[in-house]
């Protein structure tokens, strides 16, 4: 979302930053942008150059005697550098690791100086609010969460992309009215909101108005505004494993709970998706998650367990199915999948001919069978059956 603003309308961000700099009396500003977004970097450079040529940035801005110099700092793509103190460390040329607050950057920020640190989306809104007034902006959204928010819709949804919506709109409206519903008419299962450390919310919460407070109440957060929509074929344990795998590899390694704790959560989740989970694993996951949230140094560790906690809270039955029945209800965990030939089998033999380990047997024109013991669960028979007679369970 922020990338698309930087690529599509960089001047909006520059204007917001210039106004903020003017408001606090700053003369230097940095835009921290991932080097992996070369188009954004290139267009920002052009925009800064244009703004300086026109006298809106640089020295003696439109004859006011005020100077505002904006610089671009290209980051190397570390997730933790989205945390403000890590971002500042990275701009200063140090390893991108956060430090405890206080002192807050507003008091001691970049080079130890008071720093106003904001997101691209925030700065992009500044000029509009000043032009049209706070009352205009507040008439969108709710009293506690005024204004609009851009969501990045992705996953198993018909219309992916960015959508700017007034706060207080329900998740159902975003997913069905704007997003056009679930892909291929499948059944909705969950929506993950707020980026890799967001929570997964179930169907019961689709009518929840999306505000900062309401999301916090259900253990979720607005975060980056990412919305990942999942359908019935998504396994929630696997989703939790996927996101913990991300946060674990993005943990900066500084504090113990995040560095060591996310690793142990990942090991447990991997074990459960592979069928090796035990009932005590679920309890241990919850204890780990609770303590990592409480004891971690920065926002990364404090939010990393959210996908785990929310999936345990709302999809506990799926965890239990993996652990007790060694069964993945969504059929997504390959290690737990089994392929079964149903009575729709015509005995054509396509599956047996394609099976790489030759474990499907049966006479021509008679129902075939799979030797489950020797099956490697590759799914070749499932995809090749011309009669859809093989089911995954």
């Amino acid at each position: 979302m922020d990338r698309s603003v930087l690529e599509g309308d960089p001047h909006r961000v520059l204007e917001g930053m210039a106004i903020a700099a003017y408001a606090i009396g700053a003369e230097e500003g940095y835009i921290y942008v991932r080097a992996e977004y070369p188009l954004a970097v290139q267009r920002l450079k052009i925009a800064i150059h244009q703004a300086e040529e026109s006298g809106f940035l640089g020295k003696n801005i439109i004859g006011s005697g005020k100077n505002i110099m904006l610089h671009i700092k290209e980051g190397a793509g570390a997730f933790v550098c989205g945390e403000e103190t890590a971002l500042i460390a990275s701009i200063e040329g140090r390893r991108g690791m956060p430090r405890p607050r206080p002192p807050f950057p507003a008091n001691e920020g970049l080079w130890g100086k008071p720093t106003n640190n904001n997101n691209v989306e925030t700065y992009a809104n500044v000029a509009q609010i000043i032009n049209k007034g706070a009352a205009w902006y507040r008439h969108f959204g709710t009293a506690e969460s005024p204004g609009t928010k851009v969501f990045a819709l992705t996953g198993k949804i018909n219309h992916t992309g960015l959508a700017e919506v007034p706060m207080g709109i329900t998740m159902r409206e975003i997913i069905y009215d704007i997003g056009g519903g679930i892909l291929d008419g499948k059944k909705f299962k969950a929506v993950q909101i707020g980026g890799p450390s967001g929570a997964c919310l179930p169907e019961e919460l689709l009518d929840l108005p999306v505000t900062y407070d309401s999301l916090t109440e259900v253990g979720a957060m607005m975060g980056s505004g990412g919305l990942v929509v999942m359908d019935e074929t998504t396994c929630m344990v696997d989703v939790a494993r996927f996101f913990i795998n991300f946060t674990q590899s993005e943990s900066c390694g500084q504090c113990t709970p995040c560095r060591e704790g996310t690793k142990r959560m990942l090991e447990i989740l991997t074990r459960i998706t592979e069928g090796g989970g035990s009932e005590s694993d679920l309890e241990l996951l919850e204890i780990l998650a609770r303590n990592i949230k409480q004891a971690s140094l920065c926002g990364l560790g404090q939010t990393a367990p959210n996908p785990v906690l929310s999936t345990i809270k709302y999809f506990r039955d799926e965890y239990e199915a993996h652990i007790k029945e060694k069964h993945c209800p969504a059929g997504a965990c390959e290690s737990l999948a089994s392929y079964i030939i149903t009575d729709a089998c015509k005995g054509c033999g396509v599956c047996a001919r394609n099976c790489p380990v030759h474990v499907i047997t049966g006479k021509a024109k008679e129902k075939h069978r799979i030797d489950q013991e020797r099956c490697i669960k590759c799914g070749t028979c499932y995809t090749n059956c011309p009669f859809d007679a093989i089911i995954k369970g």
């Binding site: 390893r95 690791m97 430090r99 405890p100 206080p102 002192p103 674990q248 590899s249 943990s251 900066c252 390694g253 500084q254 504090c255 113990t256 709970p257 560095r259 060591e260 704790g261 690793k263 142990r264 090991e267 241990l284 204890i287 780990l288 303590n291 949230k293 409480q294 004891a295 971690s296 140094l297 404090q302």
Partner: protein, 175 residues
């Protein structure tokens, strides 16, 4: 220097402004366990052993870095704090060799003492992966057993801030 007054475990403590909660607590004789903290070094708040509960703050905070404030209410020994500290110790031990008996630091080891103090005699992650490092005895003066390292960062800070040499740094991110 201005003095602030705060409450730690129900005891009113006076401390100079700029003191950390840990310094204020120690000056009042209140014990808070620490690992990465060292009185001669700039604190980093990395190990999370010294976490305490501060009223009005959402998460637990590292007392070695959190500055005292007037009227602050701190609890250093609640069930929540103890559970989190035990978890920190368990997590450190899970990635640590289990050869205390033959370790030359046996009996003179802060990690061992801390675990014993907290009654941590086993940990719940004995199935977990442990980082394997090679034992470096190539230097005639120093041996370096990286597997024992708990990444407290003291060596980095002493080299950077006291020796002013800045020779060491972290490499990679743990796991």
């Amino acid at each position: 220097m201005k003095t602030v007054s705060l409450t730690i475990n129900g005891i009113v403590v006076k401390a100079p402004q700029g003191f950390s909660i840990l310094e204020a607590a120690r000056s009042a004789g209140i014990y808070i366990p620490t690992l990465c903290y060292h009185p001669d070094l700039v604190p980093e708040g990395a190990c999370r052993m010294c976490i305490v509960d501060v009223s009005g703050v959402k998460t637990l905070v590292a007392s070695c870095m959190y500055p005292v404030e007037e009227g602050m209410i701190v609890k250093t020994n609640t069930a929540k704090v103890r559970e989190a500290r035990r978890m920190v110790i368990e997590l450190l031990l899970a990635n640590h060799p289990k050869n205390c008996l033959t370790c030359r630091k046996n009996g003179d080891c802060e990690l061992q003492t801390m675990a014993a103090d907290m009654g941590v005699r086993t940990h719940r992650f004995d199935w977990g992966e442990r980082k394997i490092h090679t034992f470096d005895a190539s230097n005639p003066c120093l041996v370096r057993d990286q597997e024992k390292c708990i990444l407290c960062g003291r060596c980095i800070r002493v080299c950077r801030d006291i020796q002013q040499m800045n020779v060491y740094s972290f490499a990679n991110r743990g796991f």
